[in-house]
């Protein structure tokens, strides 16, 4: 006799857990099914080298929605986000170091270029204005542009009014953000190459695009959205690693009555006619539910978890078109002391923030050129963090963990290179060599090294093609086109099957907005109060 739930959620990633918490909060009998032994999906903390704990995949957070932190009382459930101060860009014989201390950053930028320092101030204010304006879109359920139901468009009307009230120059800049390349956009303000390169990096993270590719300017905004959420400035790292976020959400969900099962991989979504009725686990166990929410990505959900032939062919074609194209890898290092940078020796504050390997726009673009033709970057962009400097609990006393986000590492390698299983260590070596150019002692201090290629990310987390955002954040895959034009409202052509993962609006990153919006839509559809 199968159990029956109001809602069963496939996947215990941060979005799945957020959905579960909100549904349980509204009194629904909710079950979360996670295939792995740990919760969190790509937001997990794992002990890979004994005594050293890593945020295995995602590693920083800035976008986690403040309303979620508030409504789910995450701090009471152990959420504690420690600020990361500044961005340090090591160069040959010099460096560019921006910190949260405005005065110091200004002095540093003036050292490089006085007019850039001036522009930086103006730019910062402008971007905060832009972020304030666009932020509501994170809470909007996208309408079907071809639909005729005016209610769907109402939230946009508010945004349109807000747009009309912006000064013309800001309106123009917003349009540029939506259409330009990060590099061309920044060219309007700045001359300092390492500054432009480092800023442009936030425009390409997780995408298969270069800093000169149109469409990358938009992502620059996210950085500033985090910055104005008030809960913390800019980027922070969760105490206990990004898994700490997932555990806090899970604890909140449980306290609200949600049930969470680990090592319970879902084999199939069961359907009767055009409606979903529950899931079958790989163990063969059947679970009935009035609603099935998939936090898995759109391809896995529709092409692997549904019986072939269930979907309308046109919709299936659109799903197959959705682009994943994982482009990044992760290298986690256990070290027995801190690295020493040639351009700024010693173990000062510059190691406490993000360390960005992005010396020039050309460097960033060349890294992308490699990927375009199916090779990992010989000299990649690296976003390095040393979490143990803000959270010593992650490693034995005096020792450290280093987290390196690495781009580009294209999921589809040129056949002449073989598979990622053949290239994993070569990729790891390229990363170490790149770091060693600026901090030669890195080679001597490594105790343990873990290399995650896009293929590994796919195998371990189930993220198709290792795309960390469950689908590329390119313009054609945003808002009412995410994941499929006409199906951006978390519903699917299968009745009672809903999407709540990063494949949906507003996309990826540890944001939780997808899971919350999906839950809210489901509750509205069921005529239930969100509690």
């Amino acid at each position: 006799m199968a159990e029956r739930y109001d809602a069963v959620i496939i996947g215990g990633g941060h979005n799945g857990l957020v959905s579960a918490a909100y549904l349980a909060r509204a009194g629904m009998k909710t079950l979360v099914l996670e295939s792995r032994h740990v919760l969190g999906g790509a937001a997990v903390t794992e002990e890979i080298v004994p005594g050293f704990r890593f945020s295995a995949f995602s590693y920083v957070v800035s976008l986690l929605r403040p309303e979620i932190i508030r409504e789910l009382r995450l701090p009471q459930h152990g959420l504690d986000i420690l600020p990361l101060d500044g961005t340090f860009t090591p160069l040959d014989g010099d460096y560019l170091w921006r910190v949260n201390d405005h005065g110091r950053t200004m002095r540093e930028l003036r050292r490089w270029n006085p007019s850039d320092a001036e522009a930086y101030e103006e730019y910062g204010q402008l971007m905060v204005e832009m972020a304030k304006f666009i932020k509501p879109i994170l809470g909007i359920v996208p309408p079907d542009p071809t639909g005729r139901d005016p209610r769907e468009f109402l939230p946009l009307a508010g945004l349109a009014r807000a747009f009309q009230q912006l000064p013309e120059r800001q309106q123009a800049v917003f349009v540029q953000l939506m259409t330009m390349s990060a590099s061309a956009f920044l060219d309007q303000w700045f001359e300092t190459d390492p500054l432009k390169a480092t800023m442009s990096a936030s425009g390409i993270i997780g995408t298969y695009l270069g800093v000169k590719s149109p469409g990358t300017a938009y992502v620059l905004l996210h950085h500033y959205m985090g910055e104005i959420d008030g809960a913390f400035r800019a980027w922070g790292i969760p105490k206990g690693g990004t898994g700490g976020i997932s555990l806090a959400i899970a604890s909140a969900a449980r306290s609200l009555g949600a049930e969470i099962r680990l090592e319970a991989p879902v084999a199939r979504i069961t359907t009767v006619g055009d409606r979903a009725t529950g899931v079958v686990l790989e163990s063969g166990e059947e679970i009935e539910a009035a609603a099935v929410l998939a936090s898995t990505d759109v391809r896995r959900t529709f092409l692997q978890l549904l019986e072939p032939g269930t979907l309308d062919p046109d919709f299936e074609a659109e799903v197959k078109r959705f682009k994943f194209r994982g482009s990044s890898g992760k290298v986690n290092l256990a070290v027995d002391r801190l690295p020493d940078f040639l351009c700024l020796p010693g173990q000062g504050e510059h190691l406490r923030g993000a360390i960005s390997f992005s010396p020039s726009i050309d460097y960033m673009e060349r890294a992308y050129d490699d990927a375009k033709y199916g090779r990992f970057s010989q000299r990649p962009y690296i976003d390095m963090i040393i979490p143990t400097l803000v959270d010593p609990t992650m490693a034995p006393p005096g020792k450290h963990v280093i987290s390196c986000f690495v781009q580009y590492a294209p999921y589809k390698l040129d056949p002449s290179l073989g598979t990622w299983d053949d290239q994993r260590e070569a990729f790891g070596d390229a990363v170490i060599e790149t770091i060693a150019e600026r901090a030669p002692d890195i080679r001597d201090i490594i105790i343990g090294r873990q290399v995650h290629t896009p293929l590994d990310i796919e195998r371990i987390t189930g993220l198709t093609e290792g795309n960390i955002f469950q689908g590329e954040l390119s313009l054609e895959q945003l808002f009412f086109s995410r994941p499929v034009p006409g199906y951006a409202r978390f519903r699917t052509p299968i009745r009672d099957l809903w999407l709540c993962g990063s494949s949906t609006h507003p996309g990826g990153g540890i944001m939780g907005a997808n899971g919350r919006l999906a839950a809210m839509e489901l509750l509205r559809a069921r005529g239930r109060k969100a509690a």
């Binding site: 542009p145 071809t146 009309q164 013309e168 120059r169 309106q171 123009a172 349009v175 540029q176 259409t179 330009m180 061309a184 060219d187 309007q188 695009l209 000169k212 590719s213 149109p214 469409g215 046109d314 078109r321 682009k323 050309d362 673009e365 050129d369 375009k372 033709y373 390119s474 313009l475 054609e476 009412f480 086109s481 034009p485 006409g486």
Partner: protein, 534 residues
């Protein structure tokens, strides 16, 4: 004291002439001032060798708006359009080729040799490109509505566009929004499997733009190219008898017939303003020409940053105008040939060489050519689009060797700003690189060259006033589109100086020999002048 004009038009490029002709027909006293000795701007024909005339810059006029040809009776004024049955012939060095004909079915049959899947997909793809292009054509006809303080007209225009959009039907309407920002490489890959076919079509998504086929937004460029003409998947290929210069002459004749005065060799040095409003222009000679409206056929950036006094424009607008992107990436190579070159891939079919001959061996090959431009280097193996117009229009060759032909070659990528050296040093080397590409598909062509002209992006800037050497005045990309071409809030042909208008390619709907911006701008100028007269 010169007699007061209703409108003075700066420049005599094809858009400026279109505007002038429409203003004249509206009974407005209109004066056109052209710096060069010839009208037409980029629509020009050059005698490269005695009796051998070649299209100087643009080589086809297939995108010209039919309504302009009708309204201005251009055929009566001497314009003859010649449309070969072949649109594109895309040979590869390996001797294979993709040929796109006006006849869709014939094209599909030809594709079948290589891939029956592509052959079956072609008609459907062509239909979709036409459907989406139809919407963009309607968009192109419109003056971008004023969305900030909309009037009745704007509301109606909005509703009309909304209807046209819905008219696409759910599938196409969704597809349009999905594909516009897409990389053209992805768009063609959704339909076709053959790399050479993908490249032959994708070329129009990057032509004249600082984009590679993998750049986002190149699909919008492709779809716009076919908007308002019979382009479809292959793109339109139409010649003006006598070369593009003949189109310029027909437009000038139509303008004069409408009472417009055209002065060549008259360089405008600045726009005269009084209390923030344009009052006319001042020539380099010092001569002052008054007018109720000043209409600029040159690009918005140059107009606002060089022709109008900075105080009138203001620092913020000057900053914005100064950031209009004009990264020219195209050079032009013109050849006088002793005989018709032999393309082995043409298999001896003389018809195939009458259209656009595109050498873009594959998507990645195009992308690699683009990569060089990103780092300020001319490509060693540029993408080329060549035509042999004399095969279709014998009037171009009246002298020179028996059986001689002229060839016009658009070569990309040639970035206007070189990191090393200057274009004057690089000119011949790039000309040789282009010949190398042509040799790879037409062995022996080098031996046929009677005369060769290489026009670098710098030459386009110096001789034709194309800022940045950009044939389209501004990038055709989505950051310079409809409501925000050339600048957000100023897309309605009225520049931020009262009485100053824009009618050139940096205005909506953008560049190319379409006459679109000129026709739309005239409509707005006439409306304003009539309003102010009453």
């Amino acid at each position: 004291m010169t007699e007061r004009n209703d409108a003075v038009v700066i420049g005599a490029g094809h858009n400026a002439l279109v505007t002038a002709a429409y203003l004249g027909r509206a009974g407005l006293r209109t004066l056109v001032l052209e710096r060069r000795e010839r009208v037409g701007g980029a629509a020009d024909t050059t005698e490269l060798a005695p009796g051998m005339r070649v299209p100087t810059l643009a080589h086809t006029v297939g995108r010209l708006r039919p309504s302009i040809v009708r309204d201005l009776a251009l055929k009566e004024h001497g314009l003859t359009l010649l449309a070969p049955e072949v649109r594109v012939f895309a040979p590869s060095p390996d001797g294979s080729a993709v040929t796109l004909w006006r006849d869709v079915a014939a094209t599909a049959e030809g594709l079948r040799k290589r891939s029956s899947a592509d052959a079956d997909a072609y008609a459907g793809f062509d239909r979709q490109v036409r459907a989406l292009g139809h919407f963009l054509a309607d968009l192109g006809q419109e003056t971008p509505p004023d969305i900030l303080s909309p009037g009745i007209g704007d509301a109606l225009a909005g509703l009309k566009l909304g209807r046209t959009y819905r008219g696409l039907g759910k599938v196409d309407a969704r597809t349009l929004l999905r594909v516009l920002p897409m990389a053209v490489a992805d768009y063609v890959a959704e339909a076709f499997e053959t790399d050479a076919l993908r490249a032959a079509i994708a070329w129009r998504g990057v032509r004249y733009a600082e984009l590679g086929p993998w750049s986002g937004g190149s699909t919008a460029v492709l779809l716009t190219d076919g908007a308002g003409n019979d382009g479809g998947a292959a793109g339109e290929t139409i010649y003006a008898r006598g070369g593009p210069g003949a189109l310029a002459e027909a437009l000038a004749a139509a303008a004069r017939a409408a009472g417009v005065e055209i002065r060549t060799g008259a360089t405008v040095s600045r726009v005269g303003t009084d209390d923030g409003r344009a009052t006319g222009v001042v020539l380099e000679s010092g001569e002052v020409v008054d007018a109720r409206a000043v209409v600029s056929g040159t690009d918005a950036r140059r107009t606002l940053t060089e022709l109008v006094d900075p105080v009138t424009v203001g620092p913020s607008m000057r900053w914005r105008a100064g950031n209009i992107r004009q990264p020219g990436v195209v050079a032009k190579v013109n050849l006088a040939l002793r005989a018709t070159p032999t393309f082995p891939a043409a298999g001896g079919d003389p018809r195939t060489l009458r259209g656009r001959i595109v050498v873009a061996p594959g998507i990645d090959a195009m992308e690699r050519a683009f990569d060089a431009a990103k780092y300020g280097r001319p490509s060693d193996t540029p993408v080329v689009e060549a035509t042999i117009p004399s095969l279709v229009d014998a009037s171009l060759v009246t002298g020179g060797p028996e059986g001689g032909q002229v060839m016009s070659v658009i070569a990309q990528y040639a970035p206007v700003d070189l990191r090393e050296g200057s274009w004057d040093d690089q000119r011949d080397a790039f000309g040789d690189a282009v010949m190398g590409v042509l040799e790879s598909v037409a062995p022996g062509i080098g031996g046929l060259v009677e005369a060769r002209q290489v026009l670098t992006p710098r030459d386009l800037e110096r001789e034709y006033g194309l800022a940045g050497g950009h044939p389209l005045h501004a990038e055709p990309t989505l950051d310079s589109f409809f409501l925000w071409r050339p600048l957000f809030g100023h897309a309605r042909y009225r520049l931020p100086v009262e009485g100053l208008y824009l009618c050139g390619s940096s205005a909506h709907p953008g560049g190319g020999i379409t006459g679109g911006p000129g026709q739309n701008a005239a409509r707005e100028v006439v409306a304003d002048l009539r309003r102010r007269r009453g």
